[in-house]
Amino acid sequence: MVPLSYYLVLSGILFACGVVGFLIKRNIITIFMSIELMLNGVNLSFVAFAAHWHALAGQVFVFFVMVVAAAEATVGLAIIIAVYRTRETLNVDQVNLLKL
């Protein structure tokens, strides 16, 4: 038997790692991966809650999250490719034209 809170803490750790990765990584692809990491952390908490409340809907939600993540990955990577074509770099610090 494992307390629900352990699962939640684990998912929280993964999510935090994703956030930190988003913050400290320069490579746009890695940053994108950090987003996926966050999504995974959230999924874990979904499944844990589903098991806790005996509600399969949680797992269905995970399914939807995956679908959305896949779509987002597709478009995001396509955008990355487009950006790379134009800016010749993957470093987000150098892709900062969108400002005042």
Binding site: G18, R26, I29, L44, A48, H52, L56, L77, I80, L90
Partner: protein, 175 residues
Amino acid sequence: MSVHLVLFLAFGAVAVAGAVNLLAQTHPINSALSLIAVMAALAGEYLLLGAEFVAALQVIVYAGAVMVLFVFVIMLLNAGVEEQTTGSRVAILFGVPGAVLGSVLVAWVVLRHSGTGEVPAGALPGPPATIGPLLFHEFLLPFEITSILILIAIMGAVVLASKPPSAPVPPREEN
């Protein structure tokens, strides 16, 4: 210290290690692989929770499809080791502490209720047979909407990535 707990801790350790490695590695391909490890470990956690279908999907969709796409893009763009530019002090000064603080707070709150909800191994067997009706009856509309979303994503990817003649990015989100 039940078997369940042991397995949980093992998979959890793998997941956390992979996540940390993702941050530590400077080469995107290594980060990608460590992320795959995280996903595999999470699949294990799902199995522990009895969500077989979700576990399988986790492997097939995430590890087998999305991450393949990542690796593909890394290879396509031949992404090298990331250069250590200091573009944003804010992210380091406020962001990281903020993220850590937030997670710590959440963990604190959650752990204060430790022991309330015990999740037995395979507490909720989620075989496809039971997921299916849920997915195609209760959540039929969201399901259809996600399909439309995916269609749009395909077209968006094609439009975005196919300007000059180059290796085509195969739209890659079915499964």
